[in-house]
């Protein structure tokens, strides 16, 4: 089971990220994906998030409890949601919009200038798709094919091509980054010796609010 | 009894009434029956397919009309006749839908529905029998009670400003607005005929005597005295500015056809707009090919 949180500020397409991912795994990767979002009186510009639970079996408990992947596209959202990320989790962030604080030791961090890439492509509105591509490349919890298949209906028809290009840009960047990481790891030629991971809490903490 | 003698005895509007439900519950001297007669007369004269006429009432004395007229008829909840009628009309645009209810039902508890149906120009006819009080419950003050009139919940006289229903209907967009008293039998009939022939939100207010409660409590005499009052004090002014047709206690009653205009109904607006925005793939609703 994978638990993912996409976060940013209202207007960035954060909810869309959850929908596309959920749809991709559910309809094209033959898994189960439950997507929820925080509904509230939050205005554009304030922290917002969407969550996806991905599983080989039917998802019962609908919410994420201790996400192993946190995608952050704003400082506010990063600060709000970083503490709940699993100790062995993956943090994916926009390098221009999020300034990292000292991190817990085992958290893996991957950054992408998604907004800048999108601006270079003509419009920052595609930043979420760059981020989704990057997330797909890095996390490997959903296939790139499925993500691309999930786009029609969730992005405007006339921008479909551009969205796919934005996705691919982020995806390729992610794959390259992973390859580089692998090379460096080989160069150092150290056998990977990670301490055993603390077991994640199985059941969700009681929460009053999302 | 021979059949020809029976014909003599038949009530001329029997065909439009549920005779198995007569006698009705209305008091002697009440004006609701007169309005029903005018309605039946108008139906008789109209060329409508009577199977396609539906009558909807709310609750109250006039709310009982639906139970006596021989059409598909609905006696619904208090104040909700208009939205119920809206559902009937929209789900089957072939129907001619008439709401027949009292002032408390239409302008009191149902006031919100009234103004919105007028705003949308919903294609229904609303006949509002206005007897200035809540009669079914024993004569309480209403949204239409003239200032100073005495009623059981205004035991020292009414000090609330009343609604001028014709003005309200007009201001909200009704395409046909008329007011009569139950003395104006032929005028009421003609108004109903005119309104039935129109498309759009039509509103006919008929001032009627409530002898048992309103008249007695205000020492206005019996039904005849009230009809005399209507005779003396009503003034016909077709096309009158509806802002000027307020009714004071036992004062002048301006009657007539105040508004008669044409504009597209809710369904016409919906069809035109959706055809424009959706193009050929939209099949106009409720329009026979």
């Amino acid at each position: 089971m994978n638990e993912i949180r996409f976060s940013g500020y209202g207007g960035q397409g954060i909810i869309r990220c959850g929908l596309i991912t959920g749809k991709a795994v559910s309809l094209f990767d033959n898994k189960f994906g439950t997507m929820t979002q925080s509904f509230g009186p939050e205005a554009r510009g304030s922290a917002c998030s969407s969550q996806v639970v991905i599983s080989e079996d039917r998802v019962l408990y609908p919410y994420i409890t201790r996400p192993e992947i946190l995608v952050s596209m704003s400082q506010d959202a990063y600060e709000k949601y970083e503490p709940e990320l699993r100790a062995d989790g993956i943090l994916i962030y926009d390098t221009d919009l999020v300034r990292l604080k000292p991190l817990r030791a085992q958290i893996k961090v991957y950054g992408v200038p998604s907004t800048r890439f999108a601006e270079e492509m003509g419009n920052r509105i595609f930043a979420n798709l760059v981020m989704l591509g990057f997330f797909t490349g890095i996390s490997q919890v959903v296939s790139a094919e499925a993500m691309k298949k999930a786009l029609p209906g969730l992005v405007p028809k006339r921008f479909l091509e551009l969205n796919i290009r934005a996705f691919e840009k982020g995806y390729d960047y992610g794959i390259e980054l992973l390859a580089k990481e692998k090379q460096e790891a080989q160069k150092e030629a150290k056998p990977p010796e990670k301490p055993p991971l603390p077991e994640a809490k199985k059941t969700p903490p009681r929460k009053a609010k999302q | 009894m021979k059949p020809e003698e029976r014909v003599e005895e038949r009530n001329p509007i029997e065909d439009f009434l549920r005779m198995d439900r007569i006698p009705h519950i209305w008091c002697p001297g009440c004006g609701i029956g007169t309005v029903v007669t005018s309605f039946a007369e108008a139906m008789k004269k109209s060329e409508l397919d009577l199977d396609k006429v539906a009558v909807v009432s709310g609750i109250g004395c006039t709310g009982r009309v639906a139970g006596y007229v021989k059409f598909d008829s609905f006696h619904t909840t208090h104040g909700r006749a208009i939205p119920f009628a809206t559902g009937l009309k929209l789900a089957n645009p072939e129907l001619k839908v008439v709401v027949f209810s009292g002032d408390g039902d239409i302008a009191g508890i149902g006031g919100n529905h009234f103004i919105h149906a007028a705003r949308r120009n919903m294609d229904i006819l609303v006949i509002c029998v206005n007897n200035f009080n809540y009669a079914m419950t024993g004569g309480q003050v209403a949204a239409t009670t003239p200032l100073t009139a005495n009623l059981s919940t205004a035991p020292f006289g009414n000090f609330e400003y009343p609604f001028n229903l014709a003005y309200l209907a007009d201001a909200c967009g009704a395409t046909y607005v008329a007011r009569w008293t139950s003395l104006h039998i032929r005028r009421v009939t003609k108004s109903i005929q005119e309104a039935l022939a129109k498309r759009g939100f039509s509103f006919i207010e008929v001032i009627t005597p409530c002898v048992t409660l309103y008249a007695r409590r205000n020492r206005l005499g019996d039904g005849l005295n009230l009809l005399k009052y209507y005779y003396d004090k009503s003034e016909m002014k077709h096309g009158a500015d509806t802002r000027t047709v307020d009714i004071d206690f036992q004062g002048k009653i301006i009657v007539g056809k105040f508004v008669d205009k044409d504009k597209p109904t809710f369904l016409e607006c919906m069809n035109t707009h959706l055809q424009k925005t959706l193009g050929d793939k939209y099949v106009p609703y409720g329009v026979k090919p």
């Binding site: 309809l27 609908p62 009681r206 | 598909d72 609905f74 009937l88 789900a91």
Partner: protein, 382 residues
């Protein structure tokens, strides 16, 4: 026009799935009033109904919304509205009119937390007793509780079918989480969907009696405009539909209103059982709480507890018989619900002291922590 049934796999919310279920079931009139978290049902219907030859109208309030669907239903059209707590309260009087006049219609309540405005954007299951008894007087109706967007699709169709078959308003008691979550919803081929329509009168129009019951206790229902000249009233009425202010008429009418439901319980009540063969601790659950309940059952089984889950798809009428039978053989019932014990009391009533019905109280706003349910299972097993 576009096809009414969008056959295929979709990734949609429960609210949208309710709307798609309604369209697939043949709903062609929707009277709306916006309210969180049910607004999306109306939004989707507004978009879809023009495609399929139906009408949508946003009324001036929830009272008008339900009144409009009752009126529309009498023209022979299948009708629906959707709302949440405050709007559901406003609908109560006319829900009674629907029951009394035996008008088929479906009301979706995407529950939020109350009382009053409560937590408008957060989940709850606090309207379950209101669904049963919210309108004044004594009556029977049907309420169904979906647990997922896929359920929302099928259960809305089920709601229409039961409503048409028994001429009674049917409530779909969803909740904010189910309404707002997105999951895969598979919509089958149109011909694989069974649809039921209200019984229509046969025979001579002049001999027709509006409430003369058919074989299953349900009277055939003509449409307005067909020349039956029906009179429909919320007053106590006789079989002709005419008001009758007598004790006998009241008894006869009530017998019919109750009988058509109580005598067809086997057809109306839908439930599901999970790991119930050997269960001695039984979770009784409905709606979103089924999912947290199942999580707890799986955990409990891993720990060796004989836990099972009895799911109410139909919550009203309540499956009294099954609870009574279970009470004789199980150790305890555990009832997690997002209120302080509404259905728990029903379970307790039916168990009649033979097995305790232990609640897992929750004030709403969020779902149960499955650990809390597990804890209650452990306590019950002691």
């Amino acid at each position: 026009m576009k096809p009414a049934v969008r056959t295929g796999s979709h990734y949609i919310t429960g609210d949208v799935a309710c709307a798609e279920g309604a369209i697939a079931a043949g709903c062609r009139f929707f009277g709306a009033y916006p309210i969180t978290p049910a607004t999306e049902v109306a939004e989707h219907m507004a978009e879809r109904l023009p495609d399929v030859g139906g009408t949508f109208i946003q009324m001036e309030d929830e009272i008008a919304a339900i009144a409009s669907i009752l009126g529309a239903s009498w023209t022979g059209v299948k009708t629906m509205t959707a709302t949440s707590g405050p709007g559901f309260s406003l609908m109560m009087e006319n829900l009674g009119l629907g029951v009394c006049t035996e008008t088929p219609c479906v009301i979706v309540n995407v529950q939020r937390t109350g009382p009053s405005t409560g937590l408008p954007t957060q989940t709850g299951q606090g309207d379950m007793m209101q669904a049963r008894w919210g309108s004044h007087g004594d009556y029977e109706l049907i309420a169904i509780a979906p647990s997922s967007p896929q359920d929302c699709f099928y259960h809305t169709i089920l709601a229409f079918n039961l409503s048409e078959k028994y001429r009674v308003p049917v409530l779909v008691m969803a909740d904010e989480i189910v309404g707002h979550m997105s999951e895969k919803v598979v919509i089958p081929d149109a011909k694989e969907i069974t649809l039921v329509s209200r019984p229509k009168p046969k025979g001579r129009k002049d001999r027709f009696r509006l409430y003369e019951p058919g074989p299953n206790g349900v009277a055939p229902m003509p449409a307005i405009g067909e020349g039956y000249n029906v009179h429909v009233t919320g007053l106590t009425h006789d079989e002709r539909g005419y008001p009758s202010m007598t004790v006998e008429a009241q008894e006869q009418m009530m017998a019919r209103l109750k009988g058509k439901i109580r005598n067809n319980l086997d057809d109306i009540i839908h439930t599901e059982e999970y790991l119930m063969e050997d269960a001695d601790i039984v979770i009784v659950s409905y709606g979103i709480s089924v999912r947290t309940g199942l999580t707890a059952v799986d955990e409990a089984r891993k720990l060796g507890y004989k836990a099972g889950l009895f799911r109410l798809i139909t919550v009203w009428p309540f499956p009294e018989g099954r609870i009574k039978a279970l009470a004789k053989k199980v150790k305890a019932f555990v009832v997690p619900e997002l209120n302080l014990g509404q259905i728990r009391r029903e379970v307790e009533r039916c168990a009649f002291g033979r097995a305790p019905a232990i609640g897992v109280p929750h004030c709403g706003g969020w779902v149960h922590d499955p650990d809390d349910i597990l804890k209650t299972i452990k306590e019950a097993a002691r």
